[in-house]
């Protein structure tokens, strides 16, 4: 599906949601809505913004499909005859095709951008600035880390998150600070979003003793258990069952928490994803399986690795609701994550297909021959940080100068982190033997 420039098709579709969400809506109806492109203004769009109605947790196990059939979510298009969620969106969401879903599918689409105002989302200006600061922190931290890598201050693998910041910030702001998070090796962004200190993160990259894992984890293995951040993990897909285990513990201990398990589009091809998805559904766990679908696994695009590229459908075999989110817009991410997290807390797992894009190579050694300059250029307009900044300026929520000041402050924090990392000592060699077992006098190494 190539990009379609902004039209109001989807919005129009939303307006005619009564028709669309009726299980009986015919394909002709869907076609009609798609066909009737108008140039409705943004304001119209805002008014008709999809707002999935809050749903009560079913008293007893009701399958997602049944629930969807019995209790269609207003505005969440899906099911037979529903219009394509993708057509008419302003962003190129990658490869999502027009859906052709079974009638009992519970699919939800948060594909619009610039569709929500901060007021609608209940975000005050202070919070917006915090979000902006946080996204910038991730960006500046990694830009500096890349530079330090070039200077050989950092070794090993370094997978940059640049471009995906709306996903981390949007979802962390939409959830509780004690909701456990786990992710793969592209973990700097989520760690920083969850409140890990730039100092500890940079020191970890430098392999210093003050690093978040005392220099034993490196870029791929940030951890901060005090912040309920259960780490970055180096084996593709290996963290997904563990994330479902975090959800299991939330339910067992009745914490009311929901676990957020992040993985890439490449990881969805691992058996671990499918096993974990089935367990999450079977045990009705408060689990969000969030695919950060940046459309590439190293040099392999989704199309070259998948029979079906619509990853939000991957929960369907397990009776799990599927959610497609435009991961380049922090408001959209926030809105969607708020909606589904509230439901997930009740023990309803979701499969989330978060369409995003990484601007940098897979890792520092990646010459990126697998994508064209044109594609990268086209994606530039979608930058989530630029987008948030534009929103704030446009809505006169902040002056350019003030935003620049935030950027300067963030850059200073990152420079301070580099200095901190430089000054932190290497771990004493004896510490190599520590942290293997809880029982540290264990007679293993002698």
């Amino acid at each position: 599906m190539a990009e379609k420039k902004t039209t109001s098709t989807a919005k129009k579709a939303t307006a005619s949601k009564t028709a669309a969400s009726k299980a009986t809506a015919s394909k002709t109806a869907a076609k009609k809505t798609t066909a009737s492109k108008t140039t409705a203004k943004k304001t119209t769009a805002k008014k008709t913004t999809r707002k999935p109605a809050p749903r009560k947790a079913p008293a007893k196990r009701t399958t997602a499909r049944k629930a969807a059939a019995e209790n269609p979510v207003p505005g969440a298009v899906g099911g037979d005859g529903a219009p394509s969620p993708i057509e008419g969106q302003s962003l190129n969401l990658g490869h999502a095709e027009a859906i052709n879903a079974p009638g009992d599918a519970d699919f939800r689409f948060y594909t619009e951008v610039d569709a929500y105002t901060h007021e609608e989302l209940g975000l005050d200006v202070e919070t917006l600035l915090d979000m902006y600061r946080n996204m910038l922190m991730q960006r500046r931290f990694e830009e500096r880390a890349a530079q330090m890598y070039g200077r050989q201050k950092i070794s090993g693998f370094l997978h940059l998150y640049i471009g995906q910041e709306a996903v981390s910030t949007g979802s962390v702001w939409a959830t509780r600070p004690d909701d456990p998070i786990i992710t793969a090796y592209r973990d700097h962004g989520l760690g920083l979003a969850r409140g890990m200190s730039a100092n500890a993160c940079m020191a970890e990259l430098f392999g210093k003793v003050d690093g978040s894992s005392r220099g034993k984890g490196g870029s791929m293995h940030f951890f901060d258990v005090s912040k309920h951040f259960y780490g970055g993990h180096g084996i593709v897909g290996g963290q997904i069952p563990v994330g479902v285990g975090l959800a299991f513990a939330c339910k067992y201990k009745e914490t009311g928490g929901v676990s957020l398990t992040y993985f890439g589009d490449g990881a969805i091809n691992q058996g671990s994803f499918h096993e974990a998805a089935n367990l999450a559904a079977l045990y009705e766990l408060p689990a969000l399986l969030i695919c950060e679908n940046n459309q590439y696994a190293m040099g392999t695009s989704v199309e070259r690795s998948r029979g079906s590229v619509d990853l939000y459908k991957q929960g369907y075999p397990y009776d799990m609701a599927g959610v497609l989110i435009n991961g380049m817009d922090v408001f959209t991410v926030y809105k969607a994550m708020k909606d589904i997290t509230d439901e997930a807390r009740e023990g309803k797992p979701f499969m989330v297909d978060m369409r995003t894009y990484r601007y940098r190579g897979h890792s520092m050694s990646d010459p990126q021959k697998y994508r064209t300059k044109e594609e990268m250029e086209a994606k530039k307009d979608e930058d989530p940080i630029v987008r948030l900044k534009a929103y704030m300026l446009e809505h006169k929520l902040a002056e350019n100068d003030a935003l620049d000041t935030i950027d300067d402050e963030v850059k200073q924090v990152v420079l301070g982190a580099v200095e901190f990392a430089e000054n932190s000592p290497y771990p004493p060699v004896e510490t190599m033997y520590e942290d293997v077992y809880v029982q540290d006098d264990y007679p293993f190494i002698s």
Binding site: G211, K216, V225, G238, V242, V244, A276, D435, V436, Y437
Partner: protein
């Protein structure tokens, strides 16, 4: 003391620990409704309910990882593998996650989980179902491995394993679930992980053997005794950490060592013990260390072949005689 089967001793350990600590739960294929593939968990669903005795689909990778995540948040899962042969599909979870989580987090996390199930060869099941899997995991720092040889040890060690804050792999010989023995019913009966049991004492040679092989060693020792040679038999009970000191002390007295181990010879447990002893007690050895292992081929099916494949009493006696320079 009560006379219990090996499986009953395991069940008693799990039951007592679940009564003591509500964070302990049991999860695995057929553990609940079916009462356990080998009936280890018989009746536990009735006592503890489905929240804590949990049937899983056939997803070893998935539910092992689930257990690890739960342990990272303070629960104490017992993950039952129908047998360790099927845990190969969970290898990544055990090796990359359970074992390494603490280290890679710089000591922030602990993973108090027990993986347990039947291990080794059990008759004519052919190659996929007849693996002694200890050496695969023994190579991985961060794991503890326990392999008891009798019901009493099974109970005491399993209780310790459940209370342990590190991941413990608990390997039960598939052929031993029905074995009976006296089992302590003392309150809080635990046996420390990492301590050997000296089952028999004699001055002529030392035989080390764990799990099912222990019984071969005992039988061989009886036969050797009839022939005038007295063996010390050591059951290490724990593979990692291995109680090397007990073996060294014994070798200092007997000067000869035979290791019986049902895993494959190359890079196996016997190989490691042999190496450690030559390095740490070389001057006390009067003969090369001998080992008795499974043959270095996949386990065959035919009755005569599988019998020849497994370590036997005769193999053990022959190895002992090589160490004693008699024949």
């Amino acid at each position: 003391m009560a006379e219990l089967q090996f499986r009953e001793a395991l069940r008693a350990a799990m039951t007592e620990e679940m009564e003591r600590d509500e964070n302990v739960f049991l999860m695995g294929e057929e553990v609940a409704e079916y009462n356990g593939a080998y009936k280890v968990s018989q009746g536990m669903l009735d006592q503890f309910g489905p929240k804590r005795i949990i049937d899983t689909p056939i997803s070893e990778n998935g539910f092992s990882g689930l257990g690890i995540g739960a342990a990272m948040m303070g629960l104490r899962p017992i993950i039952e593998f129908m047998t360790w042969n099927f845990a190969f599909v969970a290898f990544d979870q055990i090796v990359s996650n359970a074992a390494k989580m603490r280290y890679m987090s710089g000591g922030q996390l602990k993973v108090p989980i027990v993986f347990r199930g039947g291990n080794g060869a059990a008759g004519q099941l052919a190659a996929t179902h007849s693996n002694s899997t200890e050496p695969f995991y023994a190579n991985v720092p961060g794991l503890k491995i326990v392999a008891p040889s009798n019901p009493d040890d099974a109970k005491g060690l399993l209780k310790s394993a459940i209370r342990d804050d590190d991941p413990v792999l608990f390997m039960e010989s598939e052929l031993m679930f029905g074995m009976k023995g006296e089992v302590s019913d003392a309150v809080d009966y635990t046996i420390p992980i990492g301590e050997a049991r000296i089952a028999r004492e004699g001055d002529d040679l030392t035989i080390v053997a764990h799990s099912k092989s222990y019984w071969l060693a005992m039988e061989a020792a009886e036969e050797l005794s009839k022939q005038g040679y007295e063996a010390t038999v050591i059951d290490p009970r724990t593979i990692r950490p291995f109680p090397f000191d007990a073996v060294i002390d014994s070798v200092k007295k007997t000067n000869r060592l035979v290791i019986v181990d049902e895993s494959q010879p190359f890079g196996g447990i016997a190989s490691e013990v042999g190496f450690q002893i030559q390095q740490r007690a070389f001057d006390y050895l009067d003969a090369p260390v001998q080992r008795v292992t499974a043959k270095d081929v996949p386990a065959p099916y035919a009755k005569n072949l599988i019998e020849a494949w497994m370590p036997s009493v005769d193999d053990t006696i022959a190895a002992a005689k090589r160490a004693l320079y008699v024949n």
